[in-house]
């Protein structure tokens, strides 16, 4: 496990807010040196996060409103201009605003799905690995079943039964994607369970619950973060796929929605790159950022002490 270097905090007191922030900033700066890829990943997340939060302010128009120009004609398929940074769609909607609002829905889905998957996977892994026995067998069979079901078709089926909505993706991931996390956490727990300090905790009288949450869980948290990070990208990619295939929500704008719209409007053959390239790039960036962050998680959360 990586070297932990938080100096001073023994859990009995909290350092003042400003010191915490200062330390965080310092760590981010040194991160650029130690692992530039991880830093790039964090930077991308941060930028997208800011865009998502301030979407209302950053967007120039409402993403779904059909716009008309001064002469009352449909403001369709307009090229880049100072009014429309990325032009308009074939139906007169501002592409830039769609992109900005799409960021918000992408991140909402990504983060929610990631949290759900990590929570379920981690809990399953902890319980399964630590207690073993019947509950382990049952949970692992459930994992096998979940892994056996093909993901995209399942989401499509779900979307057909339930109303098309963003949350279908979250639900599908909650049902099918937790096993990967669960299995890995479980095997980590199996190893941890045999470690001497866990046995020491038993000998000094710690209860099972205490051992699980105080000793075992903190040692597997970093792993949960890794899978969470990857899950964000996975969720966004899935949502984009679903929307592109036409099963997504029609009342909220997402990058996938934009891609579908562009595709149906034959933007590719017409060379309207400003329409489909930006959302595509955004998807790629977020997924890649997730990958970089997951690989560099150790450096981000537990930087090595340089004496």
């Amino acid at each position: 496990m990586p070297a932990v270097t938080e100096t001073g905090t023994t859990g009995t007191g909290r350092p003042p807010r400003s010191a915490w922030l200062g330390q965080l900033l310092r760590r981010l700066v040194s991160l650029t040196r130690r692992d530039p890829f991880a830093f790039a990943g964090v930077a991308i997340y941060v930028i997208f996060g800011i865009v998502a939060i301030f979407a209302d302010v950053l967007a120039t128009h409402d993403p779904l409103t059909i716009l008309f120009d001064s002469k009352g004609r449909l403001a369709a398929s307009l090229p880049l201009s100072s009014d429309h940074y990325l032009g308009t769609t074939s139906l007169g909607r501002d592409i830039y605003s769609q992109l900005v609002h799409g960021t918000r829905s992408a991140l909402i889905i990504g983060i929610t799905a990631a949290i759900v998957v990590v929570l379920i996977g981690t809990m399953v892994g902890l319980v399964s690995g630590y207690f073993g026995g019947l509950i382990d067998v049952v949970l692992m069979r459930a994992a096998d079943i979940a892994l056996g079901i093909p993901f995209l078709p399942f989401v499509i089926v779900l979307a057909s039964f339930l109303e098309p909505s963003m949350w279908n993706v979250v639900l599908a991931m909650a049902l099918l994607v937790w096993p990967t996390t669960g299995r890995v956490i479980r095997s980590q727990v199996l190893t941890l369970r045999e470690r001497t300090f866990v046995e020491a905790a038993r000998v000094t009288g710690s209860s099972q619950a205490r051992i699980l949450f105080v000793h075992v869980a903190p040692n597997i948290m970093p792993l949960s973060f890794v899978y969470g990070s990857i899950a964000i990208g996975w969720a966004i990619l899935t949502e984009a796929s679903i929307s592109f295939l036409g099963f997504g929500a029609t009342d909220t704008v997402s990058w996938g929605y934009m891609l579908q719209d562009a595709y149906l409007s034959q933007a590719l053959s017409r060379g309207w790159f400003h329409w489909f390239v930006p959302p595509g790039i955004c998807i790629i960036l977020v997924v890649v950022a997730g990958f970089f962050v997951s690989r560099g998680f150790e450096e981000i959360f537990f930087p090595r002490l340089r004496e």
Partner: protein
């Protein structure tokens, strides 16, 4: 002196790997790690549990602390069968009986500061926070780490092996236990550091009036620390007596071979062949009768048919061998 720990016909069998043939025949082969132990430990004694790998000494240590349940037989602590302890009694047992581990590098949670690791037993025992500092100070002083502040804020990876093992010992002592089991506590430390830990353990035992069991494969160390030695072989006690006597005048053939096998730091030592046949793992299954018979140069017919019981051969000395009848 009162008897603190008493083992009666203690057995612990583990399921062994099953081959296909065994499964077909519905057999479950077992590893008889501990195969019928009888011994008593008086309060205040310092006993060494000595044997080579596979003799069951580590398993016995864990049975004594109720970390694993016995397959058969019983272990009594202070007159009560520990298998039947529950609730408040069990909690009390966990305070007065402690374990010192073999691997100091792993016995402390790597994410906890030393301070936190030392507090853990106190928190579990629901000791008042006000008392924590004082208890920590006392425990650390016992293990010769008096500048407590120097260590409390640090993490395990920042300490040397010797310091770590002292902290582990301090943690075991912090609740003022009556009974401590140390499982190969110095085997993973450098030689020059071992002496320090062993001296501390001797000192602590004398100062606190502890009852201690010291598990090891190293005869010289056991003799240095413990006044009494119990020699184990393949799950059974083969000899038991004051360490000096067992070393100078071993009675059981296995002990004789063991004593002769240990090299000493002097050039003038015996190079005579050992009075023992073959190696431990040439033994495929536990032999019938005396477990040692297929390696014993003095084995005769009775050794195959009958298991020698452990019996007193002199005051305070026991051995399990037909030759001594």
């Amino acid at each position: 002196m009162a008897t603190l720990v008493e083992a009666c016909n203690l057995k612990k069998h583990f399921p062994a790997a099953r081959g296909l043939w065994d499964m077909v025949r519905g057999r479950q082969p077992v590893v008889r790690a501990v195969d019928g132990l009888d011994f008593t430990i008086e309060e205040g004694e310092n006993v060494g549990l000595l044997g080579e790998s596979g003799c069951g000494k580590t398993t016995t240590g864990r049975l004594m602390l109720r970390l694993i349940p016995p397959t058969e037989g019983s272990l009594a602590f202070d007159g009560k069968d520990i298998a039947e302890l529950e609730g408040e009694d069990l909690r009390h047992f966990r305070q007065v009986a402690q374990l010192v581990f073999q691997n100091p590098f792993d016995a402390l949670n790597p994410r906890f500061t030393i301070d936190r690791s030392l507090r853990e037993p106190l928190v579990n025992a629901k000791i008042d926070r006000e008392e924590h500092e004082e208890r920590m100070r006392i425990a650390m002083r016992r293990v010769h780490l008096p500048d407590v502040e120097q260590y409390t804020g640090r993490y395990p990876h920042q300490l040397s092996g010797g310091q770590l093992q002292r902290v582990v010992l301090a943690r075991a002592l912090i609740l003022e236990p009556r009974f401590v089991v140390a499982d190969e506590p110095v085997s993973m430390l450098d030689v020059s550091v071992r002496a320090g830990i062993l001296n501390v353990m001797r000192e602590v035992h004398d100062q606190m009036g502890l009852t201690a069991v010291y598990i090891s494969h190293d005869f010289a160390l056991v003799r240095y620390v413990c006044s009494r030695t119990i020699v184990m072989y393949l799950g059974k006690v083969v000899e038991d007596g004051p360490s000096e006597d067992v070393v100078r005048d071993p009675q059981h053939p296995y002990t004789k071979a063991l004593v002769q096998a240990v090299p000493v730091p002097r050039v003038d030592q015996s190079h005579d062949p050992l009075p023992i046949i073959g190696g431990l793992s040439d033994v495929q299954e536990t032999p019938s009768g005396c477990h040692f018979r297929d390696r014993c140069p003095f084995a005769f017919a009775r050794c195959t048919d009958e298991e020698p019981p452990i019996q007193e051969i002199a005051p305070g000395r026991r051995a399990a061998c037909h030759l001594l009848d």
